[in-house]
């Protein structure tokens, strides 16, 4: 039975992922900003078979509380073996260009707060010599583009941080998973016109579930994004800088 701590538990992808674990009877400590929504997610997971569900309202940028929350989760679940970090915002790129204050806030949410959680979780798991740390990064972190480079830079930093962490924790037997979804139809992307490249949160969740079980290092979800990003990252900068992607 897994003991899973989820940050951003009310996100569509996190909910769908948690359902797959709930069916196996796993135990959850759910963290998100809105306690009412957390309550709905908790009820749903309980009906679907979760062994137990505890919730905790937290704004992830409140980094001072990170240590306490992880301790509380470990205590409530009597141990901890899986951490999933699933929250994020999609910044308004134009607003980020106009005001660094705005960009900084987005970077705090999508990057710095994640690095804080990762530091704490890594130390705890390194000590216990087991566990899985899974983080939803993004294909946007693979290469900077003018349309969303503040988001991309945040996610890119998270991906590189995770690479280092994986390298460091390998010796302790701790599994570090970088999840790179492409376009997913969720509240975060509700203002976008959906097309053929879009995936449902259920489909992405299935990929995350499998990657956790199989202890994968990096997954692109759906998997065709690996090829798309291979092409995008191999375009020479000389040419890339002229493109509108």
């Amino acid at each position: 039975m897994r003991k899973i701590l989820i940050f951003g538990a009310t996100s569509s992808i996190a909910q769908e992922t948690a359902r797959l674990f709930a069916e196996k009877g796993d135990h959850f400590f759910l963290v998100a900003r809105n306690s009412e929504k957390l309550g709905s997610v908790a009820e749903d997971l309980k009906v679907r078979g979760a062994g137990s569900v505890v919730t905790c309202a937290l704004d992830a940028t409140d980094v001072d509380r990170h240590q306490t929350v992880i301790e509380e989760a470990t205590q409530k679940l009597t141990g901890l073996d899986t951490v999933l970090i699933a929250y994020g915002t999609l910044p308004d790129q134009k607003a980020c260009e106009e005001s660094f204050e705005f960009a900084k806030k987005e970077i705090e949410t999508n990057c710095l707060s994640v690095l804080s959680l990762l530091t704490l979780a890594a130390n705890q798991f390194e000590k216990q010599k087991k566990g899985t740390i899974a983080v939803i990064s993004s294909v946007a972190g693979d290469r900077g583009r003018k349309s969303n480079y503040v988001y991309g830079a945040s996610k890119g930093a998270v991906s590189i941080f995770l690479q280092g962490l994986r390298n460091r924790l390998y010796a302790s037997g701790v599994h570090v998973l970088t999840i790179k979804p492409g376009f997913v139809d969720t509240p975060m992307t509700k203002s976008f016109e959906k097309g053929i490249l879009w995936a449902s949160p259920e489909k992405v969740a299935r990929g995350i579930y499998n990657a956790i079980i199989k202890k994968k290092d990096v997954v692109y979800l759906p998997c065709f994004w690996r090829f798309i990003m291979l092409i995008i990252t191999s375009i020479p900068e000389k040419i890339f800088k002229r493109l509108s992607l």
Binding site: Q15, S40, P187, K190, E193, K194
Partner: protein
């Protein structure tokens, strides 16, 4: 916020609409930015015609409302959000010994859609409509009002919402009563019948002993063979069946849109002939898995694509017992003569259990449902001719399957239609409703 991917199952009519999603039942309706527009809740798009469309308006996609709230596995009471699909419910409840009280022909409908259309199934003669098994629901309106509705609380709103075609507001969550079963299997008997008279005989003989009854009719047969077909009757299997049928493994899919309808005279004749003659013996018994028994077409994903880009119509009527057999024969005759009918038609006798729904379709009598590929004017003309028979037999047509009913006919078929008007949300409307009201 494009609404292009939102269609009805019959893929007719094509409309121009926008769409927004409803993600949390606690939030108010996502009306911002559409000041002048009307709204309509949209489930999983299994209504055939225009009752799930809102041309020029906005659809509220309710599929993200797919959370369970509470399951009392002792007493078989399930509370969940309205965007949950029936197959998701079955996945949860069947291992605990429960089943859906009323199953339509597909398990890919949302709970909200099942209530808004007050759907029925093969057990209508014993269980009534889906609405008969709803304990309570929450209705959210555009002004932010939330009402708990049941037979005791806000019973007028309850009655208007069951079969209310999504017009009275958005159903956020629902509580239903489930049905106890021992296993996922059905004790099925299939009986071949050679004409309509024989169908009525078998149906009358089956009603008291079989919970589920339905017949497939060859709608190309004429003359003495008019109304020939195969009768299916069944009960949930008792415990301890020796043979355990497995669920259908393979799911086929129609991956692309064929440029024209694959349903034509030749393919139809071959299919209906094969179906009728598949069974050698007059009657045959088997224990089958619930999925092929209730949802035979669910194993072919996107089967609606086989009718090509013009789409198709489904036509379902009910006529009262008095004069009903004659009207049914007349209609089957007109369909056979036209040569426009599609695969097997579905024939069933409705029972007399009354639904709480104000605009519910089912009523005691004979009901027939079948598909027509959209062949333009001749298809419309045929359905108009069928309407005439239904109307003179004092029958009615099912809005969930309709895309072309005239205003005049609707108001004759549903003389109580104006009673729902005070309950319609002022910001809600649908293509269907604008056509008939």
């Amino acid at each position: 916020m494009g609404g292009q991917q939102y269609q009805s199952w019959g893929r007719y009519p094509k409309v121009n609409q926008q769409a927004v999603s409803m993600f949390w039942r606690q939030e108010s309706l996502p009306l911002d930015g559409f000041e002048e527009k009307t709204f309509l809740p949209y489930g999983n798009g299994r209504s055939y015609g225009d009752s799930c469309l809102n041309d020029g308006g906005v659809l509220i996609d309710t599929r993200p409302l797919n959370r369970f709230i509470h399951f009392d596995a002792e007493n078989g009471i399930l509370r969940c959000e309205a965007g949950v699909l029936l197959n998701e419910i079955l996945h949860l409840i069947l291992p605990k010994g429960w089943f859906i009280p009323v199953s339509p022909g597909t398990q890919f409908v949302t709970l909200g859609g099942a209530i808004a259309n007050d759907i029925h199934g093969k057990n209508h003669h014993t269980a009534g409509t889906f609405g008969c098994h709803v304990n309570c629901l929450e209705l959210l309106q555009s002004d932010g009002t939330r009402r708990l509705c049941s037979l005791e609380e806000n019973p007028d709103w309850f009655s208007a919402t069951i079969g209310g075609l999504g017009l009275t507001g958005l159903i956020t969550w629902v509580e239903i009563k489930l049905k106890k079963v021992n296993n996922p299997f059905i004790d099925q008997e299939t009986i071949r019948f050679s004409n309509l008279k024989e169908f009525f005989q078998i149906s009358a003989d089956s009603d008291s002993d079989f919970e589920y009854t339905v017949a497939w009719v060859d709608c190309l047969a004429r003359g003495d063979a008019l109304g020939r077909g195969v009768f299916f009757r069944g009960n949930h299997a008792q415990s301890g069946t020796s043979k355990q049928p497995s669920p259908p493994r393979l799911r086929f899919t129609f991956p692309v849109d064929p440029p024209f309808s694959l349903v034509n005279q030749l393919s139809l004749k071959a299919f209906n002939f094969a179906f009728y003659n598949k069974q050698r013996k007059k009657s045959q018994k088997a224990i089958v898995h619930y999925a092929p028994f209730f949802y035979p077409l669910d194993s072919i994903e996107h089967w609606n694509r086989m009718y090509g880009p013009k789409g198709f119509f489904q036509y379902q009527f009910v006529v009262p017992h008095a004069g009903g057999p004659e009207a049914t024969a007349e209609i089957l005759g007109r369909i056979a003569d036209s040569g426009l009918g599609s695969f097997l038609a579905v024939l069933k006798i409705f029972g007399d259990k009354k639904s709480p729904g104000l605009l519910s379709f089912p009523r005691p009598g004979i009901t027939l449902a079948l598909d027509f590929p959209n062949q333009g004017k001749k298809t419309f003309d045929l359905m108009d001719r069928l309407d005439d028979v239904v109307r003179s037999a004092k029958g009615t047509i099912y809005p969930a399957k309709d895309a072309r009913m005239s205003k005049e006919n609707f108001q004759v078929f549903y003389p109580q239609w104006q009673e729902i008007c005070p309950y319609i949300d002022p910001r809600f409307s649908s293509s269907f409703w604008r056509q008939v009201s």
